[in-house]
Amino acid sequence: MKTFTYSAALAGAITLAAGMAQAEVTLSVLIDNNPETVASMEALTAAYTAANSDVTFDIEQRNGGADGDNIVKTRLATGEMADIFNYNSGSLFQALKPQETLADLTAIDGQANVLDSFKQVVTAPDGTVRGVPFGPAMGGGIFYNRKIYADLGLTVPKTWDEFMANNAKVAEAGKVPVITTFGDTWTSQLFVLADYYNVQAEVPNFAADYTANKAKYATTPAAMRGFEHLEAVFKAGYMNPDFGVAKFEDGMRMVATGEGAHYPMLTFGIGTVKQNNPDNLGDLGFFAQPGPDAGKNGLTVWMPAALYVPEASEHKDEAIKFLNYVASVEGCNTMIGAAGASGPYLIKGCELPADVPPAVSDMLPYFQTDGMTAPALEFLSPVKGPALEQITVEVGSGIRPAADAAALYDQDVEKQAKQLGLPNW
């Protein structure tokens, strides 16, 4: 603290001597290492510094997934967190104890531009808003290769049976029907998590009952279907031979270049293709995960991550000013320019350009029709078990049957519910 005062005084003296009244400040930023995240943050900070020469940024990257959770939680708890950091909204945000660790952003100017649907997923139990959106909303569904579909004369499936019929034809043609990348274990969860639109279409109360410890995956047939899908794909042998070690970026490359036909994933993968295989961006298509009923087909939506300011930050005011910029239409356009438009931004008045890649235009109609989207379960319930990704790897690798896996996952979420101190658990 003392050194800080001295250096601040020194900096003050220098700026005064130079005839300026502003104090220079460097804001530390901690973000995940996804290429889209990095590109967006670099563009935002560069633009902000250009307009405010007294503010500079020191960006630090971290891993995503469970490693990232660990880093964020530990650094927050020990008071070592950067002035600004990005992290998931929804259930993972709730696990940060937001009302104690994060600055209250309810009343900052930028919130006026933020859509209410987003504010809900960064609201602490005490009703205060603690984050601003960073990046576009995402769909969870299935990427497909448009060339393969055209060559084999396939149409986008509306039901799971149609999807499996397409897979059979792809396999016959000697291509990989369902790209699987268990080298990044988190990618194994998609068939389960992206099935939530179909779950709630059949069991509208599932999220509330699940949080209240009344509904379970193992005893709700609609919820168990995601696990069964994984099992069905494994049993049919529809995966790539190196499915156990392939990683997320391999998966996006394979579906974009036509090594495989389908890849269940979140739409932020579009940014990865834009970075790694820009020439193939036009071959990438997307559809929502098909369910049992063609009449009730819709998209499971992931809210974007948010930017937060820790309560303990020494530069809270400066950090909040930057967040106001991020939540503005201008900031939103800067992100679109840097990372591309891979989905709708949750800022009022921020429009996507007309020439979006096909995978994005495949997704937008779901957003434009009422009732065609549903948030993923993690935005409706704070209960998410940490072992889901290992359990789905087991099902998808034929180690554990679907029913058994659903029961095991029900046991796993109990720990999280207890840790959060939820009633009825």
């Binding site: 708890a77 696990a95 690798s397």
Partner: protein
């Protein structure tokens, strides 16, 4: 009668301060936190719930069995291979000094680096191992992603990395055996084989005790090679106690993870204490 320390109290004070603050307090604190639901902000006392929860973890039983398999496989292999390599490398062979350092070299390399390298070498379709097997017409398995094989593949990497240390300890042990024993046994008409079993193996015993104890402990608490290669996967098939604990920690269940560490501590004690006691007893008999 208790023997009085020849040192004054002020002399041992610095060591005592370090011992109490860095070892004793954390150990006591970990026993306390293992009885709480702890999220790093506040800790709520919940009695033995964490221990109950830990033993109800379905993957824990598998993790426990895997830990024992892993520890005994790696420790056994390092002991046997270490002794054989030490005999070979003390036999006055060509370029002995260079070959000794070659065997020891993997010990010096970062474990994480070794893990990442082997993960690439063991890639099912693009890895050097399976490409090599392919050249001679064999179809190599998915070393690290086949659930039946993953744990043993990781154990293999651990053995490769750790055998150098066992060899080094054995080389020192062999050097301590007086050549008179070999001369005497030769005069009595012992063959090389008999010399190995009747002279070398019994007399290199102190080294064996060290190698078995060290490699067993490192096997029981092994984590880094596993985390760098399979992260306990696929699923839970190569999970050991340490990786199960780490995953609880990652998920933010700090009390539960601490309880797991206490269990790991007790497990190591239960296995190592009788073992060293038994070894030491035999030594006195000799």
């Amino acid at each position: 009668m208790k023997r009085r320390s020849p040192y004054p109290y002020w002399f041992v004070l610095p060591a005592a301060v370090v011992f109490v603050t860095l070892f004793l307090l954390p150990t006591v604190a970990s026993f306390w936190f293992s009885l709480t639901r702890w999220d790093l902000f506040d800790a709520e006392f919940i009695g033995w719930d964490n221990y109950r929860q830990f033993f109800r973890e379905p993957f824990l039983v598998q993790g426990l069995v895997n830990t024992l398999i892993y520890a005994f496989v790696t420790s056994g292999a390092k002991t046997v291979l270490g002794l054989l390599l030490a005999v070979l490398l003390t036999g006055g062979i060509w370029m002995q000094g260079f070959l000794r350092s070659v065997v020891f070299f993997p010990v010096l390399v970062s474990t994480i680096g070794v893990g990442i390298t082997f993960a690439a070498l063991m890639h099912p379709t693009k890895g050097v191992i399976n490409l090599g097997l392919g050249l001679v017409g064999l179809h190599g398995p998915a070393w690290l992603s086949d659930p039946a094989l993953a744990l043993y593949s990781v154990a293999l990497i651990d053995i490769w990395k750790g055998v150098g240390l066992a060899t080094l300890i054995y080389i020192a042990g062999l050097a301590a055996i007086s050549s008179e024993y070999y001369e005497a046994s030769r005069i009595d008409g012992a063959t090389r084989w008999q010399q190995f079993w009747r002279v070398t193996v019994p007399l290199v015993r102190p080294a064996t005790v060290t190698v078995v104890t060290l490699s067993l402990i490192s096997g029981l608490r092994s984590f880094d090679v596993i985390w760098a290669t399979t992260r306990g996967g696929p699923g839970f098939s190569s999970d050991v106690l340490a990786s199960v604990i780490y995953k609880q920690y990652q998920a933010g269940f700090y009390g539960l993870a601490t309880a797991g560490n206490v269990i790991l501590f007790l497990l190591i004690t239960i296995i190592i204490l009788p073992l060293t006691w038994w070894f030491n007893k035999r030594e006195i008999d000799l």
